[in-house]
Each structure stands twice: as C-alpha cells, then as structure tokens.
C-alpha cells in the first residue's frame, strides 16, 4: 500500500512534465491578466490546445493506440491530469467525448464509425455531446420518448427533446438514445444513434440554471434524418450501449472528485480567514465533518484507481462518491456563507456561484434517490422496488401513467 509512483509511473510523469514545460506557453490563457474573454474565442482556443495535447499524447491516454491513444492505464491518465493541473494549463475541451463517448464507440461502434469519428474527436476538431436525458426521462433513463422511425429507404427520422446537454451549443456530433420500438418493454425498444448537431431539424437552446447561466442546453429534434450508418451497437440494443457510457461516466466521477474544486483545502481556507469563526467550536465541528468526508472521497478515488489498474470495473458504489461530494459541498457553502454573511451571496462571489450550482448538480445524471436504489440493489443485494412498468410495452405504459395522473 503506498501513494507513490512506481519507477515506470515516475518516468511517465517526467515525460508528461517535460512535454508540458516545452508547450505550456502555447496554451490559451483563460484566467488572470491577458485572459481571453469572448466565449467563442475560448472554445476555439481550447480546440486547438486539445489538438496539441492529443499530438503530445496527453489526450486519450487510455484509448488504444490504433485510435490515436496511448494504450496506457488509468493511473497514467490520472498522472497526466495531475501534471496538466500542476502546469496550470487548461485540460482538454471535450472531456465528455474523450472520456465517455469515444470509449463507447470503441466498444460498440463499427469500423466505419471508429475510422470516421474518433480522430477528430480526440483532436478537438469535432466536439461531442451526450443526448440521453429527457424532460420525462431524467432519473428513469429508459423512459426516453425521442422517437426514431425507420423510413422506407433505410434512413431514420428522429423527433423529440433532450435536456441537460453539456457542450451542445458548439458540438459537432451527439450520441443520442432514441426509442425505435414502442411496442416492446421499455428497456428493449431503444437504439443509439450518432447525430450531426448542425443539421436542419436540430435546435439547441441554452437552459439557464439557478445562477442565471446556461450551464446546460435543451436540444430539440424535429424530423432530423440520419442514415442507417448512424446506428451504434445495433437496433434495439440502445440500453446496453448506454450502460457502457454510464460505466465510463462513473469512472470519470470516481476519479474526478478533486477536479470539481470541492475539497477540504479550499473550504478550510475560507474559514481560516475569519478570526472569530476559526475558533468557534460549532463552525469547527461542521468544517471537520465536511472535510473528513471530502478527504475520504479523495482516497476513495485512489482506491478506485487501484482497482481500475487491476482491470476491475467500478460498480455503482462509485456513485456514492458523488453523493458525498455534492452534499459535502452544499454543507460547506452554507457554512461559509453563514460565516461571511450576506456578502457571500453577492453576485460575483465564488460561494454564491457554488451555492447556486449545486442543487442542479445534485439532480444531474439521476437523482440521489435513484442512485441509492441502484446501490442498495446491486451492491447490497437488497430486493428491488416493485416495478409497475416491467414487461409492459412502452406505448401502454405512457397511457397508464396518464390515466393515473
């Protein structure tokens, strides 16, 4: 048991650091003096920078070499992330594509798809977005209603609405879960598609959150036509393909606790600034509890990494880390604002932004309740809730719900 690099890892770290030292002057400046301010320019600059990282081998570290990656392990991925953070340069723009959607295409896509899409994705030339959640299918992802209908010429016609879509406003492609057969039970009638985001019939609208900023988008599909080659993983296999994406999402969360900036060092720093509060037993008690929990998540991340390195796949319990992080950060926000008073809620306060952002994050990607169900059932082996929707064709289900409402 130790936290230090093996000689091989140390060598890899040195390589990454050397590359970053040589190239960090080429990275776009996003904060402080000389920072780019225009949103479009930021995106453009980050695309270019991702391309450079990819050329240097610092993007897609765990991707197979044949698709432009390094065929390395998750620890090297983390080492790479750590060094990028240490060098104070931006990380890759399309973390969702490279971290979750690319691996899904590698696992389920056909050779044409891999050849066409993976390279531009890795280099930031084409950014991707994940089109799974819908207004009526948030926690219950298998309830998607976006409809894909097979046309006589073998193409598909897509109509529906997606929500909580990050990066949709500048994405070139999206991975979209649609219902292709409403007459079978809901998990069985879905198919995964690759959709172009700039085609007619696709409308992206920013979805403003509590803070007022549009951290997510709604995406509307109105008779978008895609050809048969857009299907990933086979017609009717959408649920299985989606599960792969979700597994990679958990890996990302499991390793990314610290990345969100919700850590004990930052929160304790805010309390330490107040001479009165830092000696108040009540404040210290809360700070101590919150910090202990967040520190735990950091080391849970290392445990996850150890498991990944050994080829084990993280189970749904990795999601518990998200519960700890989000609830810990919520408590920290309340604590810090209690100490600082209403000024912590000022428009330009980092704490006001965090306090506004967290309630949405708590619900994003399935509510805490659904997560606890899943873990209770899959990890602890507890019996499932009675499911009223099991084995019932999707089309009947919708009308049943309507009647019950």
């Amino acid at each position: 048991m130790d936290l230090d690099d093996t000689p091989e890892q140390a060598a890899y770290r040195a390589d990454v650091r050397t590359w970053l030292e040589a190239h960090s002057s080429e990275a776009p400046v996003l904060q402080g003096p000389g920072a780019i301010e225009d949103e479009d320019e930021i995106i453009a600059a980050r695309r270019v920078w991702q391309g450079k990282l990819a050329e240097g081998g610092l993007a897609g570290v765990v991707w197979p070499k044949e698709y432009g990656g390094q065929s390395r392990g998750p620890i090297e991925q983390v080492i790479c992330n750590q060094e990028i953070a240490r060098a104070k340069v931006p990380s890759i723009l399309d973390a969702i594509g490279v971290g979750m959607l690319g691996p899904t295409i590698i696992a389920h896509g056909d050779e044409d798809q891999k050849g066409r899409y993976l390279g531009p994705m890795l280099h930031g030339d084409e950014v991707w977005c994940q089109l799974f959640s819908e207004p009526a299918a948030g926690s219950d992802l298998a309830a998607v209603q976006t409809r894909a209908r097979l046309q006589e010429d073998g193409s598909w016609r897509l109509t529906g609405q997606k929500v909580w879509t990050t990066n949709a406003q500048f994405a070139s492609y999206g991975l979209l879960l649609a219902r292709t057969d409403a007459d079978v039970p809901k998990h069985k009638g879905m198919t995964m598609f690759i959709v172009p985001m700039d085609a007619p019939g696709v409308t992206v609208r920013g979805l403003r959150q509590i803070s007022g900023e549009a951290e997510f988008n709604e995406v509307f599909f109105d008779d978008l036509v895609v050809d048969a080659g857009a299907v990933v993983g086979g017609v009717g296999n959408g649920w299985g393909t989606a599960l792969t994406t979700l597994m990679y999402e958990r890996v990302t969360i499991g390793l990314g606790g610290e990345g969100l900036g919700y850590n004990s060092t930052r929160f304790a720093g805010a309390i330490a600034q107040d001479a009165h509060a830092r000696r108040d037993p009540e404040i210290r008690h809360q700070l101590g509890e919150i910090s202990s929990d967040l520190l735990a998540v950091k080391f849970t991340g290392y445990r996850t990494l150890t498991a990944l390195q050994k080829g084990q796949i993280p189970g749904p319990e990795a999601g518990l880390a998200k519960v700890t992080i989000v609830n810990g950060a919520i408590k920290a926000g309340d604590l810090i604002a209690d100490v600082q008073g209403p000024d912590a809620l000022a428009q330009d306060s980092e704490w006001a932004y965090m306090i506004s952002f967290l309630p949405g994050l708590k619900s994003a990607g399935g509510t805490e309740e659904i997560l606890r169900n899943t873990i209770g059932e899959r990890v602890l082996g507890l019996p499932p809730e009675p499911r009223l929707d099991k084995g019932i064709p999707f089309s009947e289900l919708r009308s049943k719900e309507g009647a019950a409402a």
């Binding site: 979805l207 509590i210 107040d274 604002a337 600082q340 209403p342 000024d343 809620l345 309630p359 009223l388």
Partner: protein, 381 residues
C-alpha cells in the same frame, strides 16, 4: 385555552391573500434578478389600503391596535408569494414607538403608511454576551450597538454607528432602533434625511428583499422613553415576523412540491408514491407544523408572558429557518433537474431561504438564544 384563529384573524389572513394575489411577485422577482429591478411592484400602497402599517399601533394613534400574532399572519401571506413589502422593517420600528410615551407625533403618519419606518436591528444581550450588538457587514464577529451622546436639550441626542444589511432601510422615512447612551440602551428615532445619515441600498441573492447599510455619524435623534424590555422585544418581534414569513414560504414550497409529486411519473409510478419523496415532503410538513405551533407561542407570549417572549420568538425562528432551508431544497429536488432552472419558481424560494437565514442575526443566533434562555431558566429554578 384556545390556540386557534379567531374569525377576525381568518378574515385578516384571507384579505391579505387576496390583496397580494393582485401582484405578479414571482415573475417580478425573476425579472429583477435579470437586472430589471423596476419590475418589482411598489406594494406599499396596497399595504396602506389594508391597514398593515398601523397593525401594531394603538387605535388612539390611528393604528389597528392588533398584536404580534396578527402581524405574523400578514407576514406569512407575504412569505407565501415572496412579496417584497416593507413590513419586516416597519413593524418592529412601529412597536418601539408605540411603547414610547414621547413619540405620539411620529406614530400617526406611520400608522396610515404616509411615512414608512425601518427598524435598526440591535440584538439584546445574552447569557454569554452582555453587549447589545449588530449584524456584521463582513465576517462572523458581531460589532457593538451604535452609541448616542445627549445633545443638550430634552430628548435629543446624536447617534453614531454602522448597521449592515438592515431590511427595508432604503427609502424609509424614519429609522428606529437602539443606541447606547451613558452605557445604557435607549430607543432612538432618526429622520432618514437628517444630516449624518446615509443609507446604501443593496440586495443580495434574493431580489425581493430590500436591504440597506446604514451609517450614522453624529446623526440627530429623538431619545425614546420606551423601556429596555420594549427595545429587546422589538428584536424578538422581528425574529417572530421573519419566522412567520419563512413559514409562509414553506407552505407554498410544500403545496407546489406535493402537486408535482402527484403528477410526475417515473418508473411507471407517481414520484410521490416513493418513500424517499414522500418522507421528505412529510418532513417538510412536520417542520411546518412545529413552526406554526411556535408562532402561536410567540404570539401569545409577547403580552401573555413577556419573560418567555425571547424564548418563544427564538424557537419560532430556529424552527422556521430550518424549515425553509429544508423546504426550498426539497422543492428543487422533488422537481428533479427542472427545479434547478431559471424559469422555475423553486430557485426563488431557495434564494429567499439562503438570504433569510443570514439576516437579523441569522437562524443560528436565534437558536443560540433558545439555549441561553433555557440555561438562564435552569439557573433560576
């Protein structure tokens, strides 16, 4: 024993609900957050028409001569719709003046609403802090109350001090609070347009709540002859009022959440049928009911048992503040992702909760006072 609303109180509450329903307060709150503060309606004329400014002023001075519980009913209705009406500042100020025998001339225009007062919140001593203190502008340590110097003739003095985040101070005609004169607390009334008075208007997170940083530099003041108990009671009254207002917001949050939980389906069932949602909403109800009971306690204690008023008001605020925190977060989470979006009402209640818990000493100081009062009771027993 009778802990129920009188017919008059039911009427007062229904009338308030009716009067407030004429304003689109939630839409205005959202617009104001987007920078259009002129969207916020001026509700003071409606308050005057309803007679609320004079609620706590004796009939002899043109008021309604009602008591704290009636004022809480009105504040509860304001809280339901996040009405930005200036009663939280005006009513405790009017109570101090009404308890003073040398403020008669000030009362009548306040009772009619012709002039508006704002209460300068000064917290009375506790068992562990013997000072009268004010909310800090920055940080957690509480500064001491403003000080007064007698300026010669009769009941006049000059007052100096800083008060941060004073509810409803911007635009008020009269500022009424507590200052320390020769080491003793006295009530003071200060014309807002007098020399040495400045009010810096500000808002924080909740656009419906008008706040002001009040700076007094040798400001001329009338020294009121209200008793020390009356000055302390104004603080506790303010605690009761913000408690009542908070519980009104909890009512709406619960009603809206329950409706959604009945209609929204997931995994083939209404989400309200899931224990996680059901128990969370039941918890909101539990806290709401506890808070309501304590409003009765505070309403009764103000005159029925004044020695218990600090305890009752502190407990009401403690429970109501926590209830609103929980209800606002529950409102968001029951609604799933959509509850955290700009166009939804849930974030407005969340913003209200976030700011309220940090005003007037904060929920935390009220909770601490409950402990202090009970410890003092135990010492006396």
């Amino acid at each position: 024993m009778n802990l129920a609303l009188s017919d008059e109180q039911v009427f007062l509450r229904e009338a308030a609900r009716g009067a407030l329903s004429r304003f689109k307060t939630l839409e205005a709150a959202r617009e104001a957050l987007d920078g259009n503060e002129s969207a916020l309606p001026d509700m003071w004329p409606a308050a005057c028409e309803a007679g609320w400014p004079g609620l706590l002023i004796d009939e002899a001075h043109g008021g309604a001569g009602l008591d704290a519980f009636d004022a809480m009913l009105v504040l509860g209705e304001c809280g339901r719709v996040l009405a930005g009406i200036s009663l939280l500042g005006h009513l405790p100020a009017s109570a101090i003046l009404n308890d003073s025998s040398n403020a008669a001339s000030l009362l009548e225009p306040l009772a009619s609403g012709e002039r508006r007062a704002a209460y300068l919140p000064v917290s009375p001593p506790t068992d562990v802090d013997e000072r009268w203190s004010v909310d800090p502008r920055h940080g957690a340590a509480r500064p001491a109350a403003p000080t007064a110097s007698a300026s010669g003739e009769g009941a006049s003095a000059t007052v100096s001090g800083e008060l941060a985040f004073v509810p409803d101070a911007p635009g008020a005609d009269l500022l009424v609070g507590v200052a320390i004169l020769d080491g003793k607390p006295v009530g003071v009334a200060i014309e807002a347009d007098a020399q040495g008075v400045s009010v810096e208007a500000t808002t924080r997170y909740d656009s419906t709540r008008s706040l002001g940083h009040v700076s007094l530099k040798d400001a001329p003041a009338t020294v009121l002859d209200a008793s020390t108990d009356s000055l302390a009671a104004a603080w506790h009254l303010a605690q009761s009022l913000i408690a009542a207002e908070s519980l009104g917001s909890v009512e709406t949050a619960l009603e809206v959440s329950v409706e959604y939980a009945k209609e929204r389906h997931t995994f083939g069932r209404a989400i309200g049928s899931y224990q996680a949602v059901k128990h969370s909403l039941t918890e909101v109800l539990r806290q709401l009911e506890n808070g309501r009971s304590l409003l009765y306690y505070a309403g009764w204690a103000r005159h029925g048992s004044p020695a218990e008023f600090p305890l009752a008001a502190g407990a009401a605020r403690s429970v109501a503040g926590r209830a609103l925190d929980h209800a606002a977060r529950t409102m968001i989470s029951v609604h799933g992702g959509i509850g955290a979006t700009w166009e939804h009402d849930a974030p407005l209640y969340f913003r209200r909760a976030q700011l309220s818990r940090r005003l007037l000493g904060g929920t935390a100081a009220a909770t601490d006072r409950v402990a202090g009062q009970l410890i003092a009771q135990a010492d006396a027993a």
